[in-house]
């Protein structure tokens, strides 16, 4: 049933970070090593509410495998997860629940808004739907689509990986981040 691979046949290899190598040791920037380790072992929390959740199930399946990016273990406990994947419409009734789940996550944490409804309310411009989850929590990557194809979800996931790779270790303690959280009412 599988088709031969036609595009993207050049696989990108992760290189060793630049540093000073010697006999039995290597000195490099701590941030680079931590970034490399973190990006290839992200544990996502699928916060799947509606149709995008079914496309996520297809992404988790064997055809579009999310596990090859290091996310073999999807957790449902926010205390143990790094990435909050919000997939589907978030209604105003669900907003406080989403915020509480976000608050329970430990730093460093990332949020990806999958689908048009999570990004901006989607086709549901109504009194009961929250027009985008960035009304309650800060979002790192938005994946548009209704629902986005599994390839698009994987692309969004890879952008999160880039963010994780290049993140400075001091970012979460810096003023800009604390101000961002304060604007959402999070200490």
């Amino acid at each position: 049933m599988s088709r031969p691979v036609q595009f993207n046949n050049t696989v990108k290899f992760e290189g060793i970070p630049e540093g000073y190598m010697g006999n039995g040791f290597m000195a490099t920037n701590f941030e680079k090593v931590v970034g490399l380790a973190r990006k290839n072992s992200i544990w996502p929390l699928p916060f799947a509410t509606s149709c995008c959740g079914i496309e996520f199930m297809a992404t988790m399946g064997s055809h579009y495998d999310l596990a090859r990016f290091g996310s073999e273990r999807v957790g449902f406990s926010p205390r143990q997860c790094d990435l909050l994947m919000v997939m589907g419409t978030i209604a105003k009734k669900m907003g406080p629940v989403l915020k509480q789940v976000y608050l329970q996550m430990a730093e460093p944490r990332w949020v990806i808004a999958v689908g048009a409804c999570a990004s901006s309310g989607g086709i549901f411009d109504t009194y009961s739907v929250m027009q985008g989850i960035d009304q309650v929590i800060p979002v790192d990557v938005y994946v548009p689509g209704c629902p986005p194809r599994p390839e698009a979800i994987l692309d969004g996931f890879m952008k999160i990986q880039e963010l994780v790779h290049n993140e400075s270790l001091r970012r979460r303690h810096g003023d800009q981040y604390i101000d961002l959280l304060a604007s959402y009412g999070i200490q």
Partner: protein, 168 residues
């Protein structure tokens, strides 16, 4: 002898005389209107009668007619006779200032959520319902959103420009 719309109409008029009005058959489904306080009696009669046997409540919901002064809210019941395969629809009209209708939960368990939904959207007060609170909307909402006078969009949103959507 199979159950036809005429037989049902005949039996109902025999039992309830002229109280049931506005007999129609749009697209083959018998439709009539009953007075507000008779809705349970009509449903009980349709349930118990051995030839009518309407023992399945398919649907229960309301419609808002703001121009019908004195009868603005219509509660519509869809009943189904599974044995003879006949459907029927009946409506009760109620005033919007005193929207009290008897609840069907004693007869049909499936009416529970459906009546809560009707209350949530239209404000129809079902007398005798065990737990008549909002079901789909947030509990703090203080208006009944499906009534015609309320808009679809959340008026406090700032990121969508009504002008661009043709609603400015």
């Amino acid at each position: 002898m199979s159950l036809t719309n005429d037989t049902i109409q005949q039996q109902l008029t025999q039992k309830f005389d002229d109280l049931l009005t506005d007999w129609q058959t749009p697209y083959g489904m018998l439709t009539f209107t009953a007075p507000k306080d008779l809705n349970l009696k009509v449903m009980q009669f349709l349930f118990d009668d051995e030839t009518l046997r309407f023992r399945f409540l398919s649907d229960l919901q309301a419609v808002h007619y703001p121009d019908n002064k004195g009868a603005e809210l219509a509660v519509v019941y869809h009943l189904h006779n599974l044995v003879d395969n006949v459907r029927l629809r009946f409506k009760v009209f109620t005033d919007i200032n005193t929207p009290d209708v008897f609840s069907a939960t004693a007869l049909y368990q499936s009416a529970n959520f459906m009546e809560r939904e009707t209350y949530d959207f239209f404000g129809v007060n079902f007398v005798g319902h065990p737990n008549l609170i909002r079901i789909l909307n947030v509990d703090e909402m203080d208006y009944f959103p499906m009534r015609k006078e309320f808009p679809l969009e959340d008026q406090t949103r700032i990121d969508k420009d009504d002008e661009m959507f043709g609603r400015g």
